[in-house]
């Protein structure tokens, strides 16, 4: 099972560290990271493996959302199926 973590907001030091630290803590493996600057905004997309996640994924999604709020960033962790459903036939 895979999920997509997206981080959108103003670029700052330590974004990647914070997010990947949270992943490591819950046994979530980071498979791929891409980042870009989109209309002056920092956008990072992480593909992660959640099959061995040690807490319910909904809880992880809540936690990562809160970290985003603290840093003034919009961070979402969403099951990859939503993207597959919308963008592939």
């Amino acid at each position: 099972m895979r999920a997509v973590i997206t981080v959108i907001g103003k670029d700052m030091v330590g974004i990647l560290a914070k997010v990947s630290n949270e992943c490591a803590e819950h046994n979530i493996n980071v498979l791929e990271v891409t980042q870009s600057i989109l209309q002056d905004m920092f956008a990072m997309i992480m593909m992660v493996d959640i099959s061995k996640c040690n807490i319910p994924f909904t809880e992880f999604a809540d936690n990562i959302g809160k970290i985003g709020d603290e840093m003034g960033l919009s961070i979402h962790a969403m099951h990859e199926d939503i993207f597959n459903a919308m963008h592939t036939i």
Binding site: T6, T58, H76, E80, I82, H87
Partner: protein, 453 residues
Amino acid sequence: MLNERDILETITMIQDENLDVRTITMGISLLDCCHSNLNIMCSKVYDKILRYARDLVKTGEQIEKEFGIPIINKRISVTPAAMILASCDDRDAVRLARTLDIAAKECGVNFLGGFSALVQKGFGPGDREIIEAIPQALAETERLCSSVNIGSTKTGINMDAVALMGKAVKQAAELTADRGCIGPAKLVVFCNAPEDNPFMAGAFHGAGEPDCVINVGVSGPGVVRAALAKAGDDIDLTAVADLIKKTAFKITRMGQLVATQASERLGVPFGIVDLSLAPTPAVGDSVAHILEEMGLEICGCHGTTAALALLNDAVKKGGVMASSHVGGLSGAFIPVTEDAGMIDAARAGALSITKLEAMTAVCSVGLDMINIPGDTPADVISAIIADEAAIGMVNSKTTAVRVIPAIGKKVGDELDFGGLLGGGPVMPVSTYSPSKFINRGGRIPAPMQSLKN
């Protein structure tokens, strides 16, 4: 393989363009709750609803979090109440209404639909009791929704029922005048009512449906508007239709995913996805604004019907391939008080009830959430219902009327309901009398279109 653009597009749709799943609606058959003793039947009804829908809200919230898609409403629709009330010796319909309301509250859903009667050809046992009880039932309950089907292409229009419903709408407003006339906002009068509609206030669980089923209604007017805005003014209407189709496809795929997930987790068969563009009063979630984005100065000007026809058709064409089963109302909704653009157009005087009536010939429902003067006679409301039903009957489509007589208010005053039901100005209706026509009663015969066999 997923690419960055697609991922960010989804995030933008959800965050900035109000993309959401409007409702997961669980349909529950109450036919096996029938009993000659009303008390026993009510307890069976309560038990069955709780047994099936206890986890509905929790499961919805789980899916919401896991997939990151807002699911605005979790709701229940049940077998038309008249069908089960028919089995009772004592047909106290308000008692049944209270039971349904308590069950809805206990399950945590915000609406339960199905305080309904299907009387398109005539009144069966239980039907009159339900219709007569509607105003009181809606006044005494909080979450209950009611609908009555008074006509169909196959049967024609039951004008006796039309006359009764005009009175019911008026009385429902009078009994809830102290609460912003909320009663008739929960009452829909249908022609060709779909039996698997997940949207309130007209949802009920038809007699041909399985014991329990999950239906999902998608939304997303904001997404369609944003896509058109990005494409700019230079594309022609064929390209506009294509763009709407592509967007509707994506929205519906999301609805299909949610529907299959909900169905698996609840162990209940998946019924249909309703491909509707359902507006909310929130800015950026308006169907009227899509029409304006297409190039109309304001919704309601000449050209609105054509633009809406294009939109309604493109939504269906885009959505139909994205879902394995499409049903319900499927199309663009035009509820006035629930749509920021419609409210503005009505306030500006650009949008009239006569224009809305024309629009209902090409959109998915009918005259929806329209505030009319509080002194409008019941006969006039019946005539509005008859006109709308005639459009539905002749065009083999669903039409409906949900008008709110704003008691104590006149044209131009505002009436607010709050929340998803929104609010807006009281709109003028014709003051000439159709009384003699309505009071003739009888049935308008089914049109030639009904003879398809």
